[in-house]
Amino acid sequence: MLGFILKRVLYMIPTLFGMSLVSFFIIQLPPGDFLTSLISAIADSGQSLDSATVAALTAQYGLDQPFYVQYWNWISGILFRGDFGWSFDWGQPVSRLIWDRMGITLFVSVLSLILIWAVALPIGIYSAVKRYSIGDHIFTLLGFIGLAIPTFIMALVLMYVSYKFLGQNVGGLFSPEYQDAPWSLGKLWDLCLHLWIPIVVIATNSTAALIRVMRANLSDELNKPYVVTARAKGLKEFTLIMRYPVRIALNPFISTIGWVLPALISGVTITAIVLNLPMAGPLLLRALVSQDMYLAGAFILLMSVLTLVGMLISDILLAVLDPRIRLQ
């Protein structure tokens, strides 16, 4: 088992290298660089930069160097000094900007993932076992509604409901009075009041998708001969379904961590903007728009790492759960 994990981690290294190269390449793709957008921003405000200053800035940021030199400077800084570069736009080191945002993003995403599983698993099992019953039809309908509603509409509606009928302060993660206050029970409660909207909004879509996945997987397994064998032993219907087909139907379900986690982290950008959440999405968007290349690059790289970590976790869980994978 340890060897298996070690092997998977070692396999991640070349993948990570490729991803870092691609993400650095992508952020260099649009014509121009941070200076061009800076110059046009300054020109918009009626001033102008003389060419000497521009040349000095270009040399200072290394923007006149070839691609591989720039890449090497960037990646070696990250690897050896934990230095993700300088954000031109914010005038701060990228690492200072990014950890807060990444932390909150991860926190919200993991909470959403737990909610998704907690809801999708039992409903999926129910829908598969009682296929074409009234309950299944109702959940199917709700599931499709969940899939069909765009997240930002749901966010707006929930904000309205929460503000109008529950009288809550909405938007952001904290009420103004707690924004800069030290942690206390009151602040925690305030966080919970703010957090439920983004988590529900973020989870709805994936929950609906995962219910369908679970229902389809389990429906296939329910008719397998080993289920009949278990029934012929005299097991209770509930016990045997949980112990045999559900156990095997979980495989594809667990593989979904690999794609749910990155989808959550990058897919919630719109929701985060609508709800004014201090998450990674809005910052990444702004970085891309202003061609703040080191900030954008760092985000893309970290998301790639998270995707790989998600895959690793799901692979490890699969190996724990399924001896056919573990023993081969």
């Binding site: 060897g3 092997k7 070692l10 396999y11 008719n223 397998k224 001969p225 080993y226 009949v228 064998t229 278990a230 029934r231 012929a232 032993k233 005299g234 097991l235 209770k236 219907e237 045999y244 156990r247 095997i248 759960l321 399924d322 001896p323 056919r324 023993l327």
Partner: protein, 569 residues
């Protein structure tokens, strides 16, 4: 399994007027009607019939295990012993009462030992579960008892194997584990639904021995469902023949085999006995020239070396130094157990799998001999027109989205041989050649039975006027009565078209009926090659002897398995 238990032994389970119905969209389908039999302690009743005759559904009714939309529509299933008799037919399929019977008073063994056991639980866990459920044992007791059970069913090293998974076992071992599970609580009744159909003959003989030994030790009543009359003759005390949902004939095994009254039983026995000798249609082969020569053919599977794996994996020699000549107009049988390399051999000859050593020489009607291994892609295509393959599974080998016409015409179209009216004419000709009505050519494969589908597959193989056909288990998926029809068709086509056959099969009866010569394969090598009759009656190699003696003989008066030769390792 035949024992000395008299016909007066106490009745454990008695079925009367049982009817099983399936509510379908178009009305009710009655899968079994008016079924009646009784199971007696220590005796074995064999329920025989073709696929679809209702025998499996009847077996499942004994435990209320029929899947929706099926249900027991009438009749009684009385289980006696242990207090007052219970009528299983009236129990709720989800209730406590039936669950107390399942696994404790009635044990069941299924056909497919691979898919009938959970792949993600250890063998031990699946047996321990039954013991804890019914006998309320604690973990340690249950584990000790499971090890004992595994030892009883002759699984080697039970202390270690209890913690292994099904996919680490061979088919025979899995079926042994299944038997241990079914017998864990010493049931009064054992129901075995085609328990050996998925196994090789030698493994089948061992598993049947095992069931019979366990039955003797525990005094169980056994219901064995099978389509194999050979197995029936070897193990049954009583026989019930099922046909289209009814029991058409029942009685002691000797009476049924030697004094069958119902026309269906007679027909079934005839088609079985027919396969016990060489076909009457068979003419002595006169050809002298080999059409296909195979020399030292081999396939070595090199282990794929992952760049991080430390374990050195062993090489596998799937086919090892095989040499033979296939004469023009001859049928050469290749027999062997699963894993012996017979299927790979067929593929190597066609180069569907690339051989790693040896030569294959094909002699066309005109022109010089062809070295098959030296052929380029185009040459290989020409070779494939002359040497064609018939597949095992008539369901999987026909594309369900193509009409019969498209399926049969496909080789002609792909090779640019015919089109338009001439194509249709050729398809009609081929269909009538295999005994199907050309008017059926617009239909899709699902409209045909298994036997008819296999005929379509044969018509497709014949489309290009081949000279050699490689038939890989071409009759294994068919019922006995259809099997002999199919073999007769192939024999007739062989004489009419001057075909040569390489006939790969695990079924000795089929090979003896059809082939001139037989090669016996074991672990990739040919261990014996000779005339079919000699191999089947007086084999020389010890492995062939063991193989032939394990084949059940469809005559209860001459049981072969009892006196079989065993070959160790």
């Amino acid at each position: 399994m035949t024992t000395d238990i008299p016909a007066t032994a106490p009745t454990v389970l008695e079925v009367r007027n049982l009817a099983v119905e399936f509510a379908l969209r178009g009305g009710t389908f009655t899968a079994a009607r008016d079924v009646g039999f009784k199971l007696q302690a220590g005796r074995t009743l064999c329920l025989v019939g073709e696929s679809g005759s209702g025998k499996s559904v009847t077996a499942r009714a004994m435990m209320q295990l029929i899947d929706a939309p099926g249900r027991i529509a009438g009749g009684t299933i009385m289980l006696s012993g242990e207090g007052a008799p219970v009528d299983i037919a009236t129990l709720n399929p989800r209730g406590d009462a039936i669950r107390a019977i399942r696994g404790r008073r009635i044990g069941m063994i299924f056909q497919e030992p691979m898919s009938s056991l959970s792949p993600v639980h250890t063998i031990g866990a699946q047996i321990v579960e039954v013991l804890r459920l019914h006998l309320k044992m604690d973990r340690q007791q249950a584990r000790a008892r499971t090890i004992e059970l595994l030892r009883q069913v002759e699984i080697p090293d039970p202390e270690r194997n209890i913690d292994r998974y099904t996919f680490e076992f061979s088919g025979g071992m899995r079926q042994r584990a299944m038997i241990a599970m079914a017998l864990a609580c010493n049931p009064q009744v054992l129901i075995a639904d085609e328990p050996t159909t998925a196994l090789d003959v030698t493994t089948q003989a061992e598993v049947l021995d095992l069931i019979s030994r366990m039955q003797r030790e525990l005094g169980m009543a056994t219901l064995l469902i099978t389509h194999d009359m050979g197995v029936v003759a070897e193990v049954a005390d009583d026989v019930a023949v099922m046909y289209r949902g009814r029991i058409v004939e029942a009685g002691p095994v000797d009476e049924v085999f030697h004094g069958a009254r119902h026309p269906y039983t007679k027909r079934l026995l005839n088609s079985v006995l027919k396969l016990e000798r060489t076909s009457e249609l068979k003419q002595a082969s006169t050809a002298a020239d080999p059409i296909l020569s195979v020399r030292d053919l081999g396939k070595l599977y090199q282990p794929r070396q992952g760049f991080l794996s430390r374990r050195p994996k062993t090489e596998v020699r799937a086919v090892d130094g095989v040499s033979f000549d296939l004469m023009a107009g001859e049928s050469l049988g290749i027999v062997g157990e699963s894993g012996s390399g017979k299927t790979t051999l067929g593929r190597l000859i066609l180069r569907i799998v690339e051989p790693t050593e040896g030569t294959v020489t094909f002699r066309p009607a005109t022109g010089a001999p062809i070295d098959v291994r030296a052929l380029d892609k185009r040459g290989l295509r020409g070779f494939h027109q002359q040497v064609r393959l018939i597949f095992q599974d008539p369901f999987a080998s026909l594309n369900p989205r193509m009409t019969v016409r498209q399926i049969i015409a496909d080789p002609l179209v792909v090779n640019h041989i015919a089109s338009g009216a001439s194509l249709d004419a050729r398809v009609s000709e081929l269909l009538s050649m295999v005994g199907l009505d050309p008017a059926m050519m617009e239909r899709y494969p699902h409209a045909f039975s298994g036997g008819q589908r296999q005929r379509i597959g044969i018509a497709r193989a014949l489309a290009l006027n081949p000279r050699v056909l490689i038939a890989d288990e071409a009759t294994s998926a068919l019922d006995v009565s259809i099997r002999s029809q199919m073999l007769d068709l192939l024999l007739e086509l062989q004489q009419r078209l001057g075909l040569s056959f390489l006939f790969i099969s695990h079924d000795i009866g089929v090979v003896r009926y059809f082939c001139d010569r037989v090669a016996v394969m074991r672990r990739g090598k040919i261990v014996e090659l000779g005339p079919a009759e000699t191999i089947c009656t007086a084999p020389e190699h010890p492995y062939t002897k063991a193989l032939i003696s394990a084949v059940p003989h469809p005559d209860p008066r001459q049981k072969r398995m009892r006196t079989r030769t065993r070959l160790d390792a």
